[in-house]
């Protein structure tokens, strides 16, 4: 090491002074260094040219908002206010049964429902995704409970958790009336106060610091209030 430093100190920075053939005045980068650097840079650019687009291609859907549609499910008189009517809606087009899901719908009932009325909740539409880990829940009319077959999650008539592991009430869908039909729209999540949040996946609590620990995603948002 000491030798090298000594050797280096005796050498000039300038290629011209070192007697290199074809050196220019003031030139400090040797041709060897120049070629090495160019080859590395060219290799890096070539690799980046296929790696970056491929990674972006795979990650793209994470940043892309998916359009949510409204789907008519029947006339308003189909839905009583004391029990739920199951309806099948299509979440994702073109993939057959896989894209469909059951939604439980009833009319808003001031005796049961505590959240304020607005344009989107004249009908209460509950998602059947259990908020523990996403299994499909089933409404048992006799006990007025939603029951999950997987790990024993139980929900009450407004979708509130009454037992088992679920971390928040059942997700809901926006509802509205168009052309004499009740329409079911985008999904949203609720905390235990039934406040609306952008949709979260099951297993992600929304009380306390929950909404910050599990942030909403660019792909799916609640409707602007």
């Amino acid at each position: 090491m000491a030798d090298r430093r000594k050797q280096k100190s005796t050498k000039s920075r300038y290629t011209e002074d070192r007697g290199m053939p074809g050196a220019f005045e003031g030139e400090t980068v040797t041709r060897r260094r120049m070629m090495t650097g160019t080859a590395h840079a060219a290799g890096g650019i070539a690799a980046a040219a296929f790696i970056l687009p491929s990674v972006g291609f795979a990650l793209g859907p994470v940043f892309e908002e998916v359009e949510q549609s409204w789907e008519p499910v029947g006339p308003p008189e189909d839905f009583p206010d004391d029990t739920y009517v199951p309806k099948v809606i299509t979440l994702v087009d073109g993939i057959g049964e896989t894209g469909k899901t059951t939604v439980y719908i009833r009319t808003y009932n001031p005796d049961i429902d505590t959240e304020p009325r607005d344009e989107y909740n004249a009908w209460i539409a509950l998602s059947t995704r259990c908020m523990h880990l996403g299994c499909p829940v089933r409404f048992v009319a006799a006990s007025e409970r939603f029951i999950c077959p997987c790990h024993g999650g139980v929900y009450g008539i407004t979708g509130e958790v009454t037992g088992g592991p679920p971390v928040r009430p059942l997700d809901r869908f926006y509802t509205r009336e168009r052309n004499g039909q009740v329409e079911v729209g985008p999904r949203y999540s609720v905390n235990s106060e039934l406040e609306r949040f952008s949709p979260r996946d099951p297993g992600q609590p929304l009380d306390g610091i929950g909404p910050y620990v599990y942030p909403s995603r660019p792909t799916i948002r609640k409707l602007p209030e």
């Binding site: 993939i95 057959g96 896989t98 996946d201 297993g203 995603r217 792909t219």
Partner: protein, 268 residues
Amino acid sequence: MPKLKLPKPPVPDALVPRAKRPGTTGKTRPLDVAKESGISAIDWVDERTSLAGAARWMMFRKIPKGTNWFYTLGSATLFAFLSQTVTGVFLAMYYIPDTAGGAYESVRYITNEVFLGEFVRGMHKWGSSVMIILVMLHMARTFFFGAYKYPRELNWVIGVVLLILTYVMGFTGYLLPFDQRSYWATVVGVNINGTGPLVGPYLNDFMRAGPDFTQSTLARFYSIHMMLVPGILAALIGAHLYLVAKMGTTAPPWMKPEKKGDVDREGA
């Protein structure tokens, strides 16, 4: 004349060149040519690649006293992987990753219609469980024999990555038959993944290619299952084996040095 020099002990007797018996002619008979043809072929490749040294380095290693059946768990895992690779490649010839019913139908076709389809699919399905069990046993052997210690820590780290990738293979492969069990198990699995703080929700969107389960989800799982992860697995298994050969295997913990500071007296 073969130029390949093999170490004496591993060469089968039949292949060791013998001195000519007195009285025999110097002619090479067809049988001699046949005997040497194999070695000649290897010789031809070796002359152009010099791979024989590497092969010998890999295959003819000194192993410590006390080596026992527990040391075969790694090879067993390797063969489980190879079995999964071969059966998987051929299953891909019939499988269609189509969420609208094509995936399930193609798996049903493999199982019920294709010649030996049930067997090959069974090999792949049960082989996956076998591989996970073997990986766990291999890891337990390494842990309880203390074989993860210096200088083999890096091999342990690679092994842990291999373990995780094996789980990823199990998870992504579970969706592919696309029956009710596959679908709901994957829903649950993805949601478990989503409970990771901060990154969970975004990882879920990555895995599903969006907020909901779509055609892209199955295509994505299929691609990860049959191309991305197997490629990384194969490369890391190569590194794992290189390090095994480089470091050598450890003696079982109950083997004591016979003389102080002299664990392996026969070793070079």
